[in-house]
Symmetry: C2
Subunit: 326 residues, 2 copies
């Protein structure tokens, strides 16, 4: 399958790497809003093209992977580019998924294209695990924990505080909460009981560190409802020890079976990822394969991970996966 | 959906319980090879019918759940009953899945029915997790561990030994092996390094316990390749402490992402089940829902869990699952 990438940030680079690992995928072009001359790819011989020229690739790409942000890019880009291409995105503003789905579905059906939105690990693999587990154990409770990992939104929030030069925030699940869920205790957990937040902050010269710490810990929505730890470190330490973008998390379903709910069951799915964008990209490429196949079968419109039979994700045949993976 | 159950052992009883938990399922009849008068159901008002009369239910059942064993029952029953019904089974002889699939697919297509084979947790949910994880991380290693749980086959093997009155065997993953996989060490593990076996044995009066222990520990295939512990207990202790059929296990994919495989990733799926047959039954009923829907859409032939879009497992609409589970 021939893949195009729109947007060459961390996610776009991750998609480029995932294409290299996929035996049946080929990178055709990377589209950017920047000056193409300023963008250097890892893959040799692939053109970088200004997005204004994207229409000329209309018949040269099987799936366009949209690597913009959920806040402002994707709500516009996905419904726009699905008019020219089959597309896939990682739209992750949970509350706005229904309206995004409707907009993409309408444009896709009008032009006979196929789209998949909200793909990655959450939404994405975590969603799939919530759905499977809810269908198997209708009488039960869901728990999702995130981390240990870097939250981009919380890191950005720290950086906006007066006197902060740079900073990084880790979201960490509370071990006691994980253990209570794993033990089938079905705890009711407050926000504070589920996650802690750990911040590594580089202060400007002469900044009031006590005030910075206070500003972080009392910030509504982001930190006020959590137990937050703040460490002041040097710029060198931040670069040396906190350059990565690791993430991960846990999805649990704790549910009952038996005639009177006499049996407990715990389903646990977890991810531990050295690079959040690289893993998200690998999920995107697997689902791009499915979108390409569905399109070739004449299926149009907007899909989510829930609509994709798992066999469509594999480059192997039905016989091969039944023989080796069932 | 109207469900029939063929075979009323532990699995058949589990299916009956799972139907009680499913808002959209109704138990129509239980079919048995025994004298129906000798079988007492948990559900009030549902007939127990000798299997010789099953054809009279041809148009009264949406999906027939086959609850026989994989060794001798299912290889005959599934291709036979798919001629009259949509069917689902939990056939788990991994090596014979391709031929079972072919036989069921042929009979299903000839008569316009829909079947799903090898459903449950392994094969089943574990298979799905292997497939998803392999598609996302093509450069990686798979690890499956079983337990802690009761192995029926190994318990039966113990009971066949001279001087043994009763017995139960637990399969236990080696904690150090789990930790090495979880830590991304990609260990090469021998059979002995992955699982230990723990046996609880009731000896006949006057039996040679030393010989029984020796016979167990040296039994080829079942125990010789494992570190095995044997405990002699009384019949009362066995009944009191080992009456349940718990099971579970772990599926891991440890794989690399990035341009040069510089990032490690661990995907882990685990189950901890108080009752193996009750959980397997809950999986069967979720997939029975999918089979009923596919049949109503005109899809015939034999399927596996790989062929089912996850949304088909849910009693909720696409809008509902996108809004609440994505």
């Amino acid at each position: 399958m021939k893949i195009g990438i729109l947007g060459y940030g961390n996610l776009g680079k991750g998609v480029e790497c995932a294409i290299k690992q996929a035996e049946d995928a080929e990178l055709v072009a990377v589209f950017t809003r920047r000056d193409p001359a300023s963008v250097k790819l890892l893959t040799a011989g692939v053109p970088v093209v200004n997005v204004s020229q994207i229409e000329s690739y209309k018949d040269k790409i099987d799936v366009l992977v949209l690597c913009g942000g959920s806040a402002t890019d994707l709500p516009k880009q996905t419904p726009e580019y699905v008019k020219m291409f089959n597309v896939i995105d990682s739209f992750d503003t949970h509350a706005k998924i229904p309206e995004h789905f409707a907009a993409v579905d309408k444009a896709a059906k009008e032009t006979g294209h196929t789209a998949l939105i909200s793909c990655g690990w959450d939404p994405g693999m975590f969603s799939l695990n919530r759905l499977y587990a809810n269908c198997i154990l209708p009488d039960g409770e869901d728990y999702t924990f995130w981390g240990k990992g870097v939250s981009q939104g919380h890191s950005d929030a720290i950086r906006r505080i007066e006197g902060v030069k740079d900073g990084k925030q880790y979201t960490i699940p509370v071990p006691e909460a994980l253990e209570a869920v794993r033990a089938g205790k079905n705890p009711t957990l407050s926000t504070r009981q589920k996650h802690t937040r750990e911040c590594f902050v580089v202060a400007e010269d002469g900044a009031d560190k006590a005030k910075i710490e206070q500003d972080i810990k009392t910030m509504p929505n982001y930190f006020a409802d959590y137990d937050t730890t703040v460490h002041f470190i040097s710029e060198e330490e931040l670069k040396r020890d906190h350059a990565g973008i690791p993430h991960g998390g846990f999805v649990f379903r704790s549910g009952k079976t038996g005639w009177d709910g006499e049996y407990n069951n715990i389903i646990e799915y977890s991810l531990k990822l050295d690079s959040n964008p690289a893993f998200t990209s690998s999920v995107l490429i697997a689902f791009a394969r499915a979108i390409n196949r569905l399109h070739n079968e004449g299926v149009n419109g907007c899909k989510t991970v829930f609509d994709i039979a798992p066999a469509y994700l594999s480059p192997l045949s039905g016989e091969e996966i039944r023989a080796h993976l069932l």
